[in-house]
Each structure stands twice: as C-alpha cells, then as structure tokens.
Symmetry: C2
Subunit: 346 residues, 2 copies
C-alpha cells in the first residue's frame, strides 16, 4: 500500500469535494489501486491554516468546517502558515492547489505551483489561471524536477476531457475540437429556448448558483476563452494568449434569434473551438447555430461537452458535468491516481 | 525505437484498416510513441497465407489485395500456413485476431487466441465471440503467460468505450451503463422517424452495407446483447451468458409507435443496459422511449454511444463511430499502443 501526503491550498468547494471523496472512498481506493492519501495540511484564506505531519482525518476537517465555518478548533501541530509556507515547510509529496481563479494575473496560484514544483512536490490543480497563462513554463519546471503537474479539473471538471483528448485520442490525430465549455451560458440558452428572456434566464442562473453576481466572465465568453487557451496548449501544444481567441458572448442574443433558429431546425450554442489549418491554430468562442444532428446540439442545461474531430475516427464526443463540488474534487482524484500510476512504474 | 512483429489472422476490413494506418502513420507513431510495427505474417481463408520473418511492407499487402484480391503474388519465405501454424511457428510477438465472428461457438477465434497466449504472444482482437463467450478463461491464460489480451474493438469499434469505462471512469464508481451499441438498428430507427417504414428502412440499411442479408443478428438484438455480455465482463467483472440478457429487438416497432413517441417528445432507441442493484447485475436489450433530454436520444444514424452512470460524476456519455474499416483498425492500434506502454514500463 502506497500512501501520499497532501497539502491543500484553499478549502472551498473543490478541496472539500476531494476531502469527501477521500473520506468516503478510502476502502475502495486501497482495494482497487493499493493507494491512500493523507491530508497533512490545509492553508485557506478564510478558514485558517493548519499542519499536522502525520495527517488529519478527512472527516474531522469536513466536520469542523460544517460546524464552525473554519478550521480553528482542529488540533494541529502548527497553525497560521500561509500557502507558500505550508508548501515549502510541510512534508507533503503533493500540493492540491485550489485557491481562487484569476485569469488576468494567474496569481496567487502561479506562485503556489512554482514553489511546489521547485520544492520537489507534485501539483494537481483545477485552477484555470496558471494553466491558461503559463502552462509551458510550469510544465517545464515540473519536468526539470521530475514531478507531475495535473490539470484535469481545469476543463469540464471531473469529466475526463483532457485525458481523453490528450492521451487516449492522441493516436487518432486530432484536427479540431469544439466544445460547450461553459455551463452557465448553456443553461441560459436552454431556458431561452423554452421562451424565457435573456434577463430572466440570467437571473435564474444566478439564483441557482451557476452565474456570479457579475456575470461578465461567463456571458461574454471569457471563461470559455480561458478553457480554449488551456486546450490549445494541452491538445495542440500551442501556447496562445487570451487575446488571440476571437471572442463573442451571448448577451446580444435575443429571444427572436433563438426562435428563428428553432424554426429552421437549429439551436444556438456558445461554442469554443480550436482548429488547425495550414499550420495555424484558430481559436474562437462564439454563439453558433448548430443543426440538431450535431452531437453538441442536444446538450442541454449546465452540462458540458466536447467534440474531438480526428483523422482516424471522425467525430468523438464526450458529454458530462462541467462543474460541481464532488465533480471537481473527482478531477483532483483522477490526477492523484495518475501520479500514483506514474510513481508505480518508476 | 521499439519494433513489434505482428501476425494478422484474417485480412478483411479490420486488418486492412490496421494495415492502412500502419502504412500512413508510420512516421507519426515513431515520433510520438517511439514505436513501429512490422507485419511478418498474414493468414486469411480467402486471400491466402504468407510469412516472412523480416516482415512485409504494409503497402505491398494492401496493393496486392487491391490488385489481385489475394496475397498470392506477394513474395514470401513461407506460404500456406493455416492460422494456428502461423500463430505457433512465426516470430510474431503480437497476434491480431480478426477472423469472422461466431457468437454461438466463438470459433475459430477462441482457438486462435488460446494458442497465441499459450505460445507467449500478446493478442488484440475486435472479435466479439471469444470475449463474449470465454473472456475470463482467456484473461487468466494471458495473466499466467504475462501477456496482454486487448479487446477495445469489440464494442463501438475504435471509439474508446472500454478504455474509458474500465480505466478512466473506474474510480468514479460505475453504477449503470446504457448504450446504443448497434448502428444498424439505430440507422433504421432514425429513418423511421423521418416516416420511412421498417421494411424500407431495413432495405436501405442493407443497401448501405450496415445490415447483412439475414438481418436477424442486428434487428432482434443479438449483436447488442453480445456487447452487453462483453461489457458485463469488462466493466462489472461479471461473467454472464447470452441467455441471461433479457432481449427484445426492434422488428415489431411500427411507424405508429415511432410517431406516438415523437408526439410525446420522446424517441425510440434500442438500448443495451447493465445495472447493478442489490448485488445483482441486470442485463437488458430492448427498445426504449427516451425523453429528448436524455443524452442518448440525440444520437442518430449508424453512430454508437454509451452513457456511464457513476457515483462521482453522475452521467458521462461517449458518442462515436461503432463500425468501419479504419475505425476498427484504429481500435487495434489502441490496443497495440497499450501493449507498447505496458512493455515500456517493465
């Protein structure tokens, strides 16, 4: 049985989701993979920072947050370390980075990832910032330190879109990808097709917790563009910036547009696409009218999906959740198991 | 650069598809995976049997079949070996089994697989017979001989349904799978929705080469049931027989049934399903009326699809081709690369 020590940066939905999985699937992970994971430290801005070299039980961390809203009453050998101190000084072998996402600067996550790799620790993250803004540098740093940098959770949460496109379908020769990569806008468009106005659909998305108070990031396509930048890097090995993504949001789509498409047997979807042509990669986010026969046309609500166009197989489509606490926690688990796999083979 | 020697059993669509990929993707495979594959022998009932210890060029085999319809004019060190002789006597490290499928007896494919594993050769196959009828025995034989038995092509051709369900989503805890696993019947149902009668839709499927002259295997659900048996074994570790699959075909569906569903906002699909409940596995093939919101409802024509219901992620759906020469050839390549992967780690 191999055990790995984890340091969690941030303890919001993603890392609580991971902690729940580690609590509930302990026996399964031991039996099926011969592996266990021990959380030795947590550093979270609003919930406090604790470290215990021989580890916490996942359940006690979850119960504390449930009960107190923070980690202050959890017994620990060390308290108050900030993220960089925990990353540097702890005995963790893997850092699970889940601080907040900033697509402009990528901070503070970039510093966390850099420090972790430099201290010889593997990193797994669902944070789009570091991956969209400086994946190449961080991947090279990981390589130099013989460590892994897992990023499955940055696109479509735990739905294994990156693993499928990057590893499984690599030999099929990827030509193009098209995806519904933002659940909020797809939820809004699905509701508009039922006759709800853009404003009401957006308000409902906010009420359901899909959209933020300032919905710009979703409805103007920035979130989807960030994911296009990530996929450009991971699936096509091309480093592009956010500004290189042609971007149009859904805020100007009217109920009339939606109904016109419906009458023509088509459906508006906010599509992020990447296509290689004549040695160039075109990256684009924009609302597109898809015929109902297109595999992405039937994807409704907050669900995400991606269609890989390959030379060997033609179109292969993967549909699944694009967000959610346990779902993103599961993406972290996928990366943790990949690290375990790679270590077992050394 | 690692090279593997292949013996091909059968040289119909599947193995010709593989030969085309090996011819066209030689440089890519060398560069991306550091691997090459050499065909040292082919044994095919109608096209002849040839063996050359240092290998043939894939292109010369394809050109011969194109030109002569057989392999008789290809220069070879040895001719006329039957499949078992080629498997036993050749210097191949991997046997690519693509003889015809017999879901009743599994023969002659079962004998080929057995002999190959007993002679210390890896096996990859797209043949449903051996996998549906005696996977457990053959997998154990492979284990005893430290060889791999790759079966990706038996369900959904090169669309990586088995790899996704068995490896990638294993940690998400599979509860249920539902699939459109027979392209012929889905093609017929799609056409019936356009108003074509069952008889005419079947005739068109035969004309397009989807359905055989005797369509029983497809339309009565035997083909889909065979795939359910395979998935039962591969995804749920349960050996069940064909008779344990509750099976209803589509031949009794009328245009009226189809139209009634349409009016109710639903769609008939021939669904193969496997579900674990109270420790039991229920296997079923039958036409089901799906709401249009179901991820399988939008899958049209000869395309295949599978929905995995998991504890961690909820529903994840994979859509892709279910048949085709290059597509099934690609499934063989997927398994060949898995063997290469596993060998590289030893």
């Amino acid at each position: 049985m191999k055990n790995y020590r984890l340091a969690l940066i941030g303890f919001g939905n993603v890392n609580q989701g991971l902690a729940e999985i580690l609590r509930d699937q302990k026996d399964f992970l031991a039996e099926a993979y011969g592996v266990s994971f021990t959380i030795v430290g947590v550093s979270a801005l609003s919930k406090g920072s604790i470290y215990q070299p021989d580890g916490f039980r996942a359940s006690e961390l979850l119960e504390a947050v449930q009960r107190d809203g923070n980690l202050e009453r959890v017994a620990a050998a060390q308290r108050g370390w900030d993220a960089l101190a925990l990353i540097t000084n702890s005995n963790a072998e893997i850092v699970v980075e889940a601080s907040y996402t900033d697509l402009q600067t990528g901070q503070p996550a970039i510093s966390h990832v850099r420090r972790a790799l430099e201290s010889g620790k593997h990193v797994v993250t669902a944070n789009k910032g570091p991956v969209a803004l400086c994946y190449a540098e961080l991947a090279e740093l990981a390589r130099q330190n013989s460590r892994l940098f897992g990023v499955e959770g940055t696109v479509m949460s735990g739905t294994p879109a990156i693993l499928l496109g990057r590893e499984v379908l690599k030999s099929a020769r990827l030509r193009k990808v098209e995806g519904i990569l933002n659940g909020t806008t797809n939820y809004i468009l699905t509701n508009m097709e039922l006759g709800v106005s853009y404003e009401d659909a957006l308000a409902e998305a906010q009420k359901q917790g899909y959209a933020e108070a300032d919905p710009t990031g979703d409805v103007e396509g920035f979130d989807a563009a960030g994911k296009a930048v990530i996929l450009s890097q991971l699936l096509f090995d091309r480093a592009i910036g956010m500004v290189e993504v042609e971007r149009t949001g859904i805020s100007r789509l009217t109920l009339e547009d939606i109904q016109q498409a419906k009458q023509a047997g088509e459906r508006w979807k906010l599509i992020a696409s990447l296509e290689e042509k004549d040695g160039k990669l075109r990256a684009r986010v924009s609302p597109i009218r898809l015929p109902l026969s297109h595999p992405l046309a039937g994807v409704s609500g907050a669900t995400n999906a991606i269609t890989y166009e390959t030379q060997a197989l033609g179109r292969v489509t993967l549909i699944g959740p694009g967000a959610g606490r346990q779902q993103t926690g599961f993406a972290m688990l996928t990366d943790l198991l990949s690290i375990h796999n790679a270590q077992s083979m050394r």
